[in-house]
Symmetry: C3
Subunit: 314 residues, 3 copies
């Protein structure tokens, strides 16, 4: 199928076919990253603004490199939301960027819904690079891409997401993507962070980590993020590690071919043992590589690219 | 006429003809911004340093995009003046940039005269992006461009500038540009901020807002800028809004085709009512679009471009 | 000879021939900087990450311009080491950059050995842009280039390095480069900052400035760097200036053709009199120009360039 959407705001509103089109296109761009000249002219003369109203290093760099490898013109606009409040409104900022003929605005914002809001007030294409605790669609796309590459499929797999589900936009976007693509999703973590209400999204919810990972094909760990929790949701980091951290003993009880994912940056010794993060079953660095390919694919498709068959070198 | 100046330091030293050459060239570059590929190779292999020794987002982004669309190599050098004092002198910084073969230095500085100073100590072309309360020439050029586009001319128009004139480099540059181009300029604001001495620049000065805007073709509002006032020049923001803010009632008393301008970022509800900022008579976002075209024109001309007839795509 | 090294980590492990290859290649790139179009396509489609985990303006800008003039794709990643500690490890950051197919990582870090460490954990080419008090190899290469350009040779010259030797990576790299190339190196400064142990590196050590500069062909001044001294190593800045600062009286006692160098930024009136910094015998700004050429040469050679004969325009 050929892509028709103008924005990438969330996974919730994508069809399984649309998700597959992104993954197929990303497959072609992954090859570009392995060439001597890692560049195609697809976005030459297009303007991309990276509007990061929440600190970020990894996601910003991944987007910036994706944009450079597509030969776009790039402007970085970073600010924290607090200093932003003193100045103009988000809408005025966006209208100004539109007035500069920004073709794309990649927005990260601490408020859920910020990307949707922009898509209603400006003509530029909006890409959600993470909005509050709502969604982080490119993360879910790169995770799906990584699983499909290594397992050959997604449908029918058991995927366990472990950690702070409640405040995680990564979890939310992954749940949408994985269930749409036919995986069986299990959520696990402290009961304060993994409420039963997630069952309404089609997931199994458990607070017993051994039960959660026993049949998993993929164990997706989330970063413990103090900054998005409004109050302490578990007694201590040490207690979290003891009850939910992935260590050698726990991994021994999983399927031999269960693979481990993490959106990074990892807290070694907290949600994941150092040894496991670096072992052969860990896909953490492949996720980083694939993230770049997926972001190139998203920009390419939103720019009017029809699909992977169009991609070539220059 | 063809352009011969090496620097853009102020409007005061430009002739009406030179200003018109910039506006004509900007007209051609505005078209470039509307193309699918918003890029020309005019500055390929040239080095532009954006030396912003005073915080700025909008002007910096506008310059940066202008430079990218001209295919320049760009280095951003930001610092605040206070941290600068601990290190090397402004002259030494500039001499270093010259030693790196910087073709252009775009400087914003809190000290009046900083751009002129640089033009005397280095061989690079200097563009003043705002120096203290002195001048902000590209702002005045984009404002003149915007007026000419919408009114078809500038000579003979009544232009009212409203607000903090005393500390405004935008006002100062606009007064020079508008009077050179034959407009009749009225200045209005609290008497502490709009002294009678401005009459020597050929302006009418009044402290009565209704009188100031009655016959205006253009009402140019300035941002209330606490940072450049050395002490409080009016009792309170609320009082300013009540006495000088542009609202529906006041606008009703102006000419039907009077247009509203503001250099941004706007303080909604302070110097301008939200509704008016977004109405059809507001040119605020057109100013942003035109700013990019004007900055491309300035860089193009300072780089040896002769005029609009030379501009083409690539 | 043709270049074979993958990384530039230090001067200590380079041969005199390798150093000369860099200088010869830099000579060709210096010409590029003087052209109307200061750009060659040597690194097109290559990704360079500037990982500056210690504040820097001059070196970062020099590298960034070198990368742009080689047409590389560039990502800047700045952080201070303290904020870094809260997040992921340096190794994890580097592994992430490798996963993004970074061809080059230019690293500045407050810890000695940081560049060597990266070269062992990632496949990317590593360029040391200064690691703690250890080495700053591109600075020594640009200094050697500058001396060779002006004196026609390095072997047999008397070079005096004056200042805070103990904590200076610039001094350490210069000592390696100059002694390998056959210069006779004298070190001078307060005894707390210039211990006798440096004689083991083949240098003469003296604490008498007049003796140190009497026969010098090159007087290389170092910046007084409070930040890298763990405690105050001399009574006061004024005392340092009086005892070791280069002024007119002292300069009068040197050879007529002795030349003055300084890595910048200079402290006018501290280690060097203002008048002397700006005199004809000062090479300070030539060092800046040459630094860009040397950094282009280093990137070019590490990218597989064989030597100066390959460099042409585009």
């Amino acid at each position: 199928m050929s892509w028709t959407k103008k924005h990438l705001l969330d996974i919730e509103s994508l069809t399984a076919e649309e998700i597959s089109t992104v993954l197929d296109t990303a497959r072609a761009f992954k090859n570009v990253g392995e060439r001597a000249i890692k560049k195609v002219p697809a976005l030459r003369g297009k303007t991309v603004v990276n509007l990061f109203i929440e600190p970020s290093t990894r996601t910003r760099i991944s987007f910036e490199l994706a944009e450079q490898r597509l030969t776009a013109d790039i402007v970085n606009f970073s600010a924290d939301a607090s200093s932003f409040k003193k100045g103009e409104t988000l809408k005025d900022t966006a209208k100004n960027l539109e007035a500069l003929n920004a073709d794309f605005i990649v927005i990260r914002h601490s408020a859920s819904g910020a990307a949707h809001f922009l898509s209603r007030v400006v003509k530029s294409s909006i890409i959600n690079a993470g909005d509050g605790a709502h969604e982080h669609p490119t993360q879910a796309l790169l995770d799906a891409f990584t699983i499909r590459e290594r397992k050959g499929k997604i449908a029918g797999l058991n995927v366990t997401i472990l950690g702070d589900i409640l405040y995680s936009r990564v979890a939310r976007s992954n749940i949408w993507a994985l269930t749409k693509l036919g995986a069986k999703v299990t959520l696990c973590g402290p009961s304060t962070l993994v409420p039963k209400t997630f069952e309404q999204m089609g997931c199994r919810v458990t607070h017993n980590v051994d039960e959660a990972i026993r049949d998993a094909d993929i164990i997706h760990l989330l970063r413990i993020q103090h900054e998005r929790q409004r109050k302490t949701m578990f007694p201590s980091i040490g207690e979290y590690t003891q009850l939910f951290g992935l260590n050698k003993t726990r991994l021994a009880k999983t399927k031999q071919d269960a693979l481990i994912m993490h959106p990074g940056p990892i807290n070694r010794g907290v949600e994941i043992d150092s040894e496991i993060a670096d072992c052969e079953r860990s896909l953490i660095l492949e996720q980083v590589t694939n993230g770049l390919a997926v972001r190139m694919a998203v920009l390419f498709l939103l720019n009017g690219g029809k699909g992977p068959q169009e991609i070539s070198g220059n």
